[in-house]
Structures are given as C-alpha cells and as structure tokens.
Amino acid sequence: MTQPPPLIQAEDLSVTLAGAPILDHVSVQVSRGEVVVLIGPNGSGKTTFLKALLELVPHRGRVARAPGLKIGYVPQHFARDHALPLTVARFLAIYAPNEKGVVAAALARIGIEELAGKQVVTLSGGELARVLLARAIVHRPDLLLLDEPFAGVDLAGEATLYRLIAELRDELNCGVLLVSHDLHVVMAQASRVVCLNRHVCCEGAAGAVIRDPAFVQLFGPRIASELALYVHHHDHVHEIGHVPEGADHPHGPHHG
C-alpha cells in the first residue's frame, strides 16, 4: 500500500519558551484518510506542537502544507465574550460566506440543529464542544486539527463524538490530527498513535505503540496492560497474537 502525499508535514519542530525547551525536533505528518492521535502526559508539549504546526507559536524547523490546504481547527480553549452578541448560526456563517445551506448542514451533521438560534455565550461546555466541531467542518476542510476537543463532554457523549470523527474523516475524505488525554476512546479510533514527551517517544498503530517500552515508561505498566486488553477487544484491523500480561514483554518497534 502506498501512502498518499501528506497533507501537512512537520520536520524537526523545536519550541523554546522563556529558555526552557518545550519541543525537541518533533517530526509528524498527517495524510488524507488518517486519524493520527497525539498522546502524552501533561506538559509533554501536545498543545504547543499543534500551535507550532499552525504557526501560532514561534518555532524552529519546517512545516509543509499541501497546496491550497483547508484546515479546520478546534482549539483547546475558546474565549467567549459577553460584549459580542453571536448566535451559533451566525458564528458558523462567518467562516462560510456566500454558501447557502452549509451552516444548517454542519449543525445537522453534529446533531445540534436546535442550537442554531442560541447565543454562543449561553452554551454549556458540552454544547460548545459540539458547536466548535460543527464550525470546524463548515467549510469542508481537508485536515481537521482537534486539541482536546471534547474535554467538556460527558463520557457517553465523548465516545459518540470520537466515533463521529472517524465518520467525518470518511465523509470529508480528510485527515485528522487529534490531541487527547483519553487513551481508551482514542485507541479505538486511531489509525496511528504518536506518543509525545517533548520528543516523539514512539509512533505506530495503537496495538504496537502500547507495547513499546517507551510508552510503558511514559504511562506506567498498569495503564499499558489495561490498554493492551482494550485494544485487543476493539481492534478489528491489526492482528494481535496475544494479550501481554504486563509490560515486561514488549513487542513493539523500539525507538532511541
């Protein structure tokens, strides 16, 4: 199978904030049709990496975007302002001018048509998360970049929304780069997992990454073995020979 050319490619991204290294030569690429999940502990530089990729923070290294790439971005934090009157429908329409029906279609796809007339400042955390996702797809992007997009959503809703992202990937034929802390849900939807802790610790299919010694070192043997069980039950693509009892039998690709 040949990989299509990447939509976005980061080469050797390094970020230093106030003298402290935040990211150290990180290279990640995302292609059409992939759901790449970026995981890592707090302070590992996940959000900073996404911001560097989007030119929101100064960085060294190179970011190459496919020509004419349309990006849909869901930031981790979205500041709302009471001084600005803004209905949900108008919020989406700002990003899709002169196109009839796309706002209604985006709201319907996420299942939040009833929020169209609501003021953005009055939305609950879960509603805002869905509105931000609808906003990110309103212009039919080639690449979705989602930074902890469902932090304010309850558990049941979160699982549904992660499945929705996999569906959107197929419908829009786009690539997805997702930052998440929720390892369980993420593992079930990822085509590829990148494990970040200032540098890329390990990378590959979910089933392989969780048995990588670098992953076990980062998240601890207990989480690694729990996830191994989980991935075994949920993974319909990758053959897994056996479920490791603990972290002492790593089978994944080794890295530095």
Binding site: L54, F78, A79, I94
Partner: protein, 280 residues
C-alpha cells in the same frame, strides 16, 4: 415646555452652517458606532484612548509644520498605533506601555499648543471639542471622512470579525489577520483625526464606547449591534448639539452626554424587559 425651543428652530432655519455641523457630527457618530463595536469586542478602549491623546500632539505638529491639523493628527495617530501594536508583556503589561505613550503625546501636545499664541484660546476646543467652531473645510472633512470610514468598515467587515471572534482560529486556518489589524488601526487613527475638534482629545473614546454599549442589550448578532451603534452614534449628534444650544454648553461634551443618555435608556429598557419576561 422648553423656553429656548423657538431659538433652536430659528437657528436651524437661518443657519445652514449649523445644519452642516449636525450632519458632519452625525456621520462621524455613525462611523464611530460600528468601529467602536470592534474596540469594545477586542477590549482596546485603552489603545483608542491613547491614540486620541496622541492626537493632540499630532494637531500641534500639524500646526507647527503648516499642514492641516487633521492630517497631522492622522499621521501621528497611525505611527503611534504601529508603535503601540508592538508592545509586548515582557517587562511591563502592554497596556502600561500604551498608556505611557499616549500620555507623553497628550503632555507634549499640550505644551506645544500652549506655546502658540494664536492657538492658546482654542486649547479647550482641542481637549473637549467644539463642532460649532469648525471651519467649513473641517466640517466637510468630517462628513466625507465619516462616510469613507463607513464604506471601509462595510468592505472589511468579515476579515475584522474573523480576527475578533478568534485570532487563533483565523491564523490556524490561514486567514490574513495582518490586513484586518492594520485596517483597524488606520480606522481608529482616522476617527481620532476626524473627531479631535468635534468632541476633543479627552472625549473621543466616549464616541467609540458609549453607542456600542448602548446598542449591546438590544442586539443578537454582531451586525445588528453595529447597525444600532451607528444609529445611536448618529442620533447623539443632533441631540447633543440641540442640548448645547438649549443650555448654552460646549457641543462636544453635550454630544457625549446625549450618547450616555441613550445608553441609560437602552439599559433600563433591557432591564425592564427582562423583568417582564421572568415574571411572565
């Protein structure tokens, strides 16, 4: 009811100059309303105030160099705006730096103006404005400038709104934020130049803040708020100038007070409506 009403009527009928003053101030108010919405949404009242203070220095330099004060004000405000836009929070909060620059401009401008024999009598006009003391050229400049600014805001509306709603999303999705930022700065500087002799350096920001604040409780979309702010800003001019006639008060402060009265009216109206909705 109003003993001086016949005087105003006579003045209006007799004096086409007064009509021009009202029209100029109204167009200025109409442009300041929507622009002020962005000042409010982007929390840049401090920047606006500092640019207005710099306007006094601009007027002084314009007079010194023998060019129209309005051109001096615009030039100095744009340069000052570009300097202020570079302020970072590295050692002191950026607002402190912006305020510092603005007050230097105010102090320096005041000193320069007070050394000019012919201007000294007009100093109050520079600080608090007097639309009725404007030359016919100035009045036309204010009217045409106000109309041009309204047109520019119409054309730049979406890029300005995109940057206002979320700068990060705008940059991330590859939208041009520099054009919107520069345009915003130039528009505020332009408004300062037009408004300096109408409401004065110390009251320009009132023109940017009060009509949008009055429009906010009545609006559900940014466009509705901008339109209402334009209407309320324009309305403040004839109300204020009429008030100035009746009470023999300076016209600039009277326009600001008229805008404030509209703010009180819409806020009270919104509060009453909310009470009715809740109890009903």
């Amino acid at each position: 009811m109003c003993p001086k009403a016949p005087i105003i009527l006579t003045a209006l009928i007799m004096d086409s100059f007064l009509w021009r003053a009202i029209l100029g101030a109204a167009l200025l108010g109409a442009a300041a309303g929507p622009l002020g919405c962005f000042v409010l949404w982007r929390r840049m009242a401090y920047l606006g105030e500092s640019l207005a203070h710099m306007g006094l220095l601009g007027a002084a330099l314009g007079l010194l160099l023998g060019v129209a004060p309005i051109a001096g004000v615009a030039a100095v405000a744009i340069v000052a705006g570009l300097i202020m836009a570079r302020a970072t929070d590295r050692y002191i909060p950026s607002g402190t730096f912006i305020g510092l620059v603005g007050h230097v401009g105010l102090a320096l401008g005041f000193i320069l103006l007070s050394t000019m024999e012919t201007v000294r009598a007009d100093l109050m006009g520079y600080l608090f404005g007097d639309v009725l003391a404007l030359s016919p050229f100035d009045i036309y400049a204010v009217a045409v400038g106000g109309a041009v600014m309204l047109a520019a805001l119409w054309l730049l509306w979406r890029p300005l709104l995109v940057v206002t709603v979320s700068r990060d999303i705008a940059i991330a999705e590859g939208r041009d934020t520099r054009l919107a930022d520069l345009a915003f700065l130039v528009l505020v500087a332009g408004l300062v130049a037009l408004a300096l002799k109408v409401v004065g350096a110390l009251l320009i920001v009132a023109l940017l803040l009060i009509p949008p604040a009055a429009a906010r409780p009545l609006a559900k979309t940014p466009e509705a708020m901008a339109l209402l702010a334009a209407v309320l800003g324009a309305l403040s001019a004839p109300l204020g100038i009429a008030g100035a006639y009746v009470f023999d008060a300076p016209a600039g402060p009277a326009i600001v007070l008229a805008a404030a009265a509209l703010f009180v009216a819409t806020s009270a109206g919104a509060a009453v409506q909310q009470k009715i909705t809740r109890s009903g």
